[in-house]
């Protein structure tokens, strides 16, 4: 067993503990018999624990990417249903933080992707958006140039730097992605992971990518997954 294996199995263990903490927190908050002086504190705790949890899941997936164990299982999926499920999973926490989380898409829109992996990417993107959004987070999906585009937008102050930015960028190799110090405000590791997952979705002609922009329909940051 080399060090990265040990690391991976510890992360797995920590993640399971966090999962139990999250469940207990959930019950603690949901139980009306508990009186918290500041309920928002509990929600923030939940928010951070969930972010840590998504990050750990991503780390484990990155580890599997490294050992070539991670495989995308592409299947047909109705976007309306898929986004509905992503919203359901993240709704309670957003409400507790006074954020309005919603999704829009054509009810008949169909996409082809690994639901598990894309679900993970969206969870952590929403986790990030929770930190920056003022009131709203919006998920949406549509077809653009034959790509399925899934967006996560917020009404915060938006992404810094030169935009829009494609990741991976053909002109600019992944250098800035692997350097976590290049942008302290947004976790670059999350973006690196998202880009790698997007890249695992490909057809003979086209490969998935992500794109960062500001001010799509909401005023803040807009994270886009482009899947062939």
């Amino acid at each position: 067993m080399d060090f990265s294996d040990i690391l991976a199995s510890s992360i797995h263990d920590i993640k399971n503990s966090l999962g139990l903490i999250l469940n207990d927190l959930d019950e603690l908050i949901a139980n009306p018999a508990n009186h918290l002086a500041n309920p928002r504190q509990a929600s923030l705790l939940q928010h951070e624990a969930q972010r840590a949890n998504s990050n750990l899941i991503q780390l484990l997936n990155l580890y599997k990417l490294g050992t070539a164990e991670l495989v995308a299982r592409i299947a047909e999926q109705n976007l309306d249903e898929f986004l509905d499920e992503v919203v359901a999973e993240n709704q309670a926490l957003c409400q507790a933080l006074n954020l309005d989380l919603s999704a829009t898409s054509d009810p008949d829109l169909i996409g082809y992707f690994d639901t598990d992996l894309i679900h993970g990417v969206l969870n952590s993107t929403i986790g990030n958006a929770r930190r920056y959004a003022r009131e709203r987070i919006l998920l949406s999906a549509e077809t653009v140039d034959d790509y399925l585009v899934i967006r996560v937008e917020d009404d915060g102050s938006g992404f810094p730097g030169k935009l829009p930015q494609w990741l991976p960028d053909d002109n600019e190799p992944a250098r800035n992605l692997t350097d976590p110090t290049s942008d302290p405000s947004r976790t670059r590791l999350g973006l690196y992971f998202a880009a790698r997952i997007a890249q695992m979705h490909k057809t003979p002609e086209r490969t998935g990518r992500i794109r960062l922009a500001n001010g799509h329909t909401l005023t803040g940051g807009c994270f886009e997954l482009w899947l062939p």
């Binding site: 993640k15 999962g19 207990d24 959930d26 495989v71 109705n78 309670a92 598990d116």
Partner: protein, 537 residues
């Protein structure tokens, strides 16, 4: 929705008590009142045997003993859960690939840990809705009435619902089970016209295989593997196709690489062992059967033949003492079922023969003969084949040939079994021109069958009956002949009225086929026609 969940019976299976408590509290918060818990696979199976559950939430990783996949396998295999039961496999990201590569017995849904109560509610709502939606289809499937199932499904498909892709996939699966290959092909073509989708391409390959276009099927499976080497089902089918083409060395190579990708598949290890043994690679065979025996330990699919083959491989590698020890395990694991007794005897005969203990070998052979006789006329083809191998290995070539002839006649239209015959004869060194024999016997049986069918069509029922009856008594294990004999009687009765004697005869034919292959796609039609004629019996 809360009332909807309140009456549901739920079972939570996890080896970790904190996790069980967490899931239970999530279920409670959704309004579920009836929650049972199990801490391991055996506990879970025991509970499912006692009570019908609507929802089973099962963790894949259950510590020592059965894993979640084996729990699902056993529950479905022993029909402890009905087709309406929702089985959700709870996975962690480190078990994802393991779970996904299990080809047969897929759960209704996967949930990755940790999940929130909202997600579970959303998923359960959807699954209940789907099950309700599919209820008429499932009802027909339980009755093995494939025609009605496809008809019901077509109605659902016509409304093009959100889960259209799932419905189309289900339709192709039913079409394949009902031998309606062309209909399945149409669906695959329709799906592939919109986009390249692995399951549809794989399905096309399956149809090509089933229609015996082996070369084309092989090319299709190869292409699929080239596109995605992790698509284990494509490797499995490629190996079957290569076996059909008698490319045994290539088939072994294909299975070997599939086993590397997914070492936990029992059937795959078994297939590797069988191919290796008949290709003369007894070292490889020993390893593969060793894995198979270990994997099967907690599985409902555990079988004495795995031990017999492990012993045979060990003996080929001159490890006779170890081989006899493995044979000794059979009695302990399977107590003394007739099958266990039989395999114990055949394996013992082979090992003793290889050890040079002729007397011991012959004694074991007698035990095997007595054991197989207890199965009566409907003894399964695989048992006969095992017996053939044993005869050949003990030098009893005449007995081997006679039994082989019978086995071929009983299964003249089962290509996969006939390929097993060829393989077994290579392995055991049967001195018999298997392929010529197969061809000649096939021609004979087909001739009789066709003549019978023609006589039925011409309305010469008595002549048809006489011919087919004689053939059926000659080949009691031949499903096609017995079904056609049943059909001849039924058509005669439909025209000329029923007699008690004819009804008994038909039931006898149907009983034979049912004992051999309860899922045979042709059975439903014959049974329902008999019911129309004789509703009371």
């Amino acid at each position: 929705m809360a009332e909807e969940f309140s009456q549901k019976q739920c079972l939570v299976i996890d080896d970790f008590s904190d996790m069980r408590a967490a899931i239970r509290s999530i279920l409670r918060s959704l309004g579920v009142n009836h929650i049972d818990q199990a801490r391991d696979g055996n506990d879970a199976i025991a509970q499912m045997a006692k009570k019908r559950f609507d929802v089973v939430l099962c963790d894949y990783n259950l510590g020592p003993g059965k894993d979640g996949q084996q729990v699902l396998e056993e529950a479905r295999h022993r029909q402890l859960i009905g087709i309406d039961c929702i089985f959700i496999m709870v996975t962690a990201e480190n078990t994802r690939e393991m779970v996904m590569s299990a080809a047969e017995y897929a759960p209704d849904s996967y949930l990755s840990k940790p999940f929130t109560k909202e997600l579970l509610k959303n998923r359960l709502d959807k699954l209940f809705e789907r099950k309700a939606h599919l209820a008429p289809v499932n009802k027909a499937l339980v009755a093995k009435d494939y025609g009605t199932a496809i008809g019901e499904l077509d109605q659902l498909i016509a409304a093009s619902p959100k889960n259209l892709a799932d419905l189309l996939k289900l339709k192709t699966e039913i079409c394949l089970a009902a031998n309606r290959y062309d209909e399945a092909m149409t669906v695959y073509e329709q799906v592939l016209a919109a986009r390249e989708i692995a399951w549809a391409r794989l399905g096309m390959g399956k149809v090509l295989y089933l229609k015996k276009h082996y070369a084309k099927a092989q090319e299709m499976f190869r292409q699929l593997i080239a596109l995605d080497p992790n698509l284990i089902a494509a490797s499995d089918w490629l190996a079957r196709t290569q076996t059909a083409l008698q490319q045994f060395a290539e088939a072994e190579e294909t299975v070997r690489s599939a086993v590397k990708l997914s070492p936990r598949g029992l059937k795959r290890q078994q297939m590797l062992g069988e191919l290796a043994l008949s290709n003369g690679n007894s070292q490889e065979a020993e390893i593969a059967f060793g894995h198979a025996v270990t994997l099967a330990k907690h599985s409902v699919l555990n079988h004495p033949s795995l031990f017999a083959n492990l012993a045979r491989s060990k003996s080929s590698n001159n490890k006779h003492v170890e081989a006899l020890k493995v044979i000794g395990e059979i009695g302990k694991v399977f107590s003394n079922t007739p099958e266990a007794t039989f395999y114990k005897a055949t394996a013992t005969a082979t090992v003793k023969q290889q050890q040079g203990d002729r007397e011991g070998a012959l004694e074991a052979l007698q035990t095997a003969e007595a054991a197989i006789a207890r199965f009566g006329e409907a003894s399964h083809a695989t048992l006969s084949l095992e017996m053939v191998k044993t005869y050949a290995q003990l030098g009893e070539q005449d007995k081997a040939a006679a039994l082989l002839q019978k086995a071929i006649a009983n299964n003249h239209d089962d290509e996969e079994f006939l390929m097993n015959v060829v393989q077994a004869c290579r392995e055991a060194g049967v001195e018999y021109d298997t392929e010529t024999a197969i061809r000649e016997i096939q021609q004979d049986v087909v001739k009789t069958n066709n003549l019978g069918v023609r006589l039925i069509k011409q309305g010469e029922f008595d002549a048809a009956l006489e011919l087919l009856h004689e053939a059926a008594e000659d080949m009691p294990g031949n499903k096609t002949i017995n079904l056609n004999a049943a059909k001849a009687s039924i058509m005669k009765m439909e025209k000329l009225g029923t007699t008690n004697e004819d009804i008994q005869l038909v039931r006898r034919y149907i009983g034979r086929v049912h004992a051999l292959a309860p899922n045979d796609w042709r059975l439903n039609d014959v049974i329902s026609r008999l019911r129309t004629l004789a509703p009371k019996v």
